[in-house]
Subunit: 267 residues, 2 copies
DNA sequence: CACGAAACGATCATATACAATCAGATGCGA
DNA sequence: TCGCATCTGATTGTATATGATCGTTTCGTG
């Protein structure tokens, strides 16, 4: 076996198992101990594996990278301070033991962070949100049945006979593509469908929309203002932009980004 | 077992249970008491766990925003070579474009690895399996609706009006707690329930059971032998143990563990 | 308070992993 | 085919890890 072959096999094994011992490689490669050590050292010098006593380890830490951090994580980073501030304000609306619904989206994803210590019944159609909730909180998590749509990372069923029909949430937290006098607007028909389903299973609709969303328009109206009970936005919103919502009887909460940072500092 | 393996296993356990005793680790790591103490002390010095009398404790309650890992159960690391060999054999039964069902479990989890290049319709009640499939393959993934049960990491609905009712799989892949002349046995009523639901949605039942399962008994029979079409086990199984299955008209596949390594070598 | 049991740290002999060295094997170019 | 360069495997001595033992400390119980 060539040196090259051994190297790529070692890398593959390390990738797969995240840790391999010299002993394992001894059998697998059929090479001598000395050679294997040399191989590992070479790979370690190149930074392709980490040398540890008795074998080699993956450079990437041993955590499961496959849960959060897909196409999702990219947009997750946009306007993070705003989203965090809004999420923090949203979390304050939640009382212990409540049952809530969280619609998928990057803004609502930020909410998860503030739900760690709660004891809630949560329904979400977002796979990443469910994954993070599962890992970082003790809440009870329910998923609707259906196919996972990769682009949006949401679970959606083409059928109506769904677990979702047996759930009732006190509050629905949702993001949006755009928010204006027509109501909640979305750009993706799939998301419209998912959101529409959730809207039927709750009373209070809480829209989390950073101020940029107030200037965003699209073709599809998910629901009108009359269905919305609360809007949470950030202090980038101009007072006149919020008038239309207040006039419609909606409670408008403006989350201060800097204040959020202050709290962050103290924590 | 390497020092590093022990360390990460300890960390994982501490993460999962938030406290572990030296005694627990004694069995699980197969190392001496002295070594385990040393390991814990080392980890404690690094601040990764908190040393307490009799064992180790999680350094902080929870909540690590970016380190989102699954609360994987420990059993995932048990008899890995057998499970891999069985999984490899199982994957060979699958043809492109097929629609299959994967029941949750650590043995079936191993199957995911071999499904990367397939183009399948997959229904699974296992959250980790869905997560890994989502990240490592292009298969279409469907989840049944329901609540996520943390211990077993499966999605299960108390209701029957479920997405699952709209799915039909050519094959069902399932593990088991025990497998003998009575059929598939399970120890957890929740798993019985989940498995029973899946059994209704397929024709071919393929049981993946490492040889230790053939000597395992339990109180609950999920289904009798007549429902099983194929059994895949490893070469640790004695021929006479397999007779009863063959007599029942079941196809029995024995996956060679070493052969698996051979294939590994060539890859 | 006294007692026994369990957990602990220190110590030591042994086992294992390691780097260095060198001779032989192998690959490669002339 | 030869000769050079490189790679490989065996050997050696050294460093480190491990497991058993033992005396000490801590904890719980009567």
């Amino acid at each position: 076996m060539l040196e090259r072959e051994r190297h790529s096999l070692i890398l593959k094994l390390v990738e797969e198992r995240s840790i391999v011992s010299v002993g394992d490689l001894l059998d697998l490669l059929g090479a001598s101990e000395a050679t294997i050590r040399r191989d590992i050292n070479t790979l370690a010098e190149r930074g392709e594996v980490k040398r540890i006593r008795g074998g080699a380890e993956a450079v990437r830490p041993r955590h499961q990278p496959h849960l959060v951090g897909m196409p999702f994580s990219l947009s997750q980073d946009i306007s993070v301070p705003q989203k965090r501030a809004i999420a923090r304000a949203a979390a304050e609306l939640i009382t212990a033991g409540e049952s809530i619904i969280i619609n998928g989206g990057t803004t609502t994803f930020a909410l998860v962070e503030f739900l760690a210590d709660h004891d809630l019944d949560i329904l979400t159609n977002s796979f990443p949100i469910a994954a993070k909730l599962l890992a970082t909180s003790r809440n009870r998590i329910t998923l609707p049945g259906g196919t996972i749509f990769r682009e949006q990372n949401i679970v959606l069923s083409p059928f109506d006979n769904d677990t979702i029909e047996n759930f009732w949430g006190n509050k629905l937290f949702t993001g949006c593509y755009g928010l204006n006098r027509f109501g909640i607007m979305e750009a993706d028909p799939l998301i419209v469908q998912a959101q529409t389903k959730l809207l039927k299973r709750t009373e209070d609709v809480i829209v989390m929309a950073d101020s940029s969303k107030l200037r965003q328009k699209s073709a599809m109206i998910v629901t009108g203002l009359e269905r919305i009970s609360t809007i949470i936005t950030d202090d980038g919103a101009k007072p006149e932009e919020l008038e239309v919502f207040k006039a419609a009887g909606i409670k408008v909460i403006v989350a201060s980004v800097n204040e959020d940072d202050e709290l962050q500092k103290l924590a």
